[in-house]
Point group: C2
Chain length 189, copies 2
Amino acid sequence: MALEHAILVSLLEKPGSGYELARRFERSIGYFWTATHQQIYRVLKRMETAGMLAVREVPQQGRPDKKEYSVAGPGRAALSQWLHEPIEPESLRHDLAVKIRGAAFDDPAALIDEVERHRQVHSDRLAHYLAGELRDFTGPEAAAAPPDAGQELQHVVLRGGIAYERMTIAWLDDVLVTVHRLGASRPRT
Amino acid sequence: MALEHAILVSLLEKPGSGYELARRFERSIGYFWTATHQQIYRVLKRMETAGMLAVREVPQQGRPDKKEYSVAGPGRAALSQWLHEPIEPESLRHDLAVKIRGAAFDDPAALIDEVERHRQVHSDRLAHYLAGELRDFTGPEAAAAPPDAGQELQHVVLRGGIAYERMTIAWLDDVLVTVHRLGASRPRT
DNA sequence: AGGGCCATGTAATAGGTTACATGATTGC
DNA sequence: GCAATCATGTAACCTATTACATGGCCCT
């Protein structure tokens, strides 16, 4: 169960409430792990019961009170143990590839809009990652201070996201060319 | 629910039993979609009940009888409908990235073995994909016959897998360089 | 004799999604 | 007045994983 571990890492980077975690899972750490707020609340409660997390009630004015979670000793130990265990190299789960193969039995031309839409999303994500890289790692402000190990590691993960988006965009272009070529060779089916 | 759709595509490409599907999901279509035999049997049963699939009992000698599934009209209609619906561009779920960020709070050097192990797996997969490409698409035998739309689409999906593995290997090299640099700057922690 | 492949399944559990529910504050 | 943001949660359902179970054939 790696959601627990992703939460531990995120809370070590910075303590926060369930709500804040849910927002981080839409950005930053969410680039390579997704979770909804319902799931996060459920897991936080379980982890708290298991003693992995410490909670602090934070009264706020003008806003609902929040529970700020931070990692307790057993949580850190659980993370450390997981870090030293080997994990399975993950396999993709790529719906769009299923669609592309399925299009052979239907209408390949119908793929075009869908693939272009996906390309746009990945293109936006790439721009977003690059902006984050400039802000946090390669820009003048970030370059002023020497990066610590944590920042170096966050940066290499971000570079992975950037490489993934670039590769995906290039592949979607390949798909578009292929589909157009199919359409051209048989104008109507 | 895309497992149903992946099964429909696979059975349209070639009818087969639950066992055979499970094997295909370890190879070929499994490169971008995974499923275990338990799950496949359950979904096949549900799809059969829903009338999406036709079954044929095939007696065999020296082996247990098998049930050969093929796609029935309603199954084809369900697939067609899905193909015309937009789907969400998927987000990654990358355990290793969580580990890398987590290593900042533990021992970054412990990543090295793990990353090298993953690199090996991806390198093997790449070799496997390239061999498949040569056999089915770019080799002398395959080049002799003009490819149809189905083959072109299968090929472009395979090219996506190849691009993914290449990108991943390059990124894992980047991770290794980064971790080694961290270790060099502070020999013991 | 033992291991691996073919072939099918059940049961229990864990993980994840969708819908529903509440309620105050801030900004347009 | 309406929508968005902050903040927390429950309930129902669907999906996926892990463990267990059976049994014959083929090869070494």
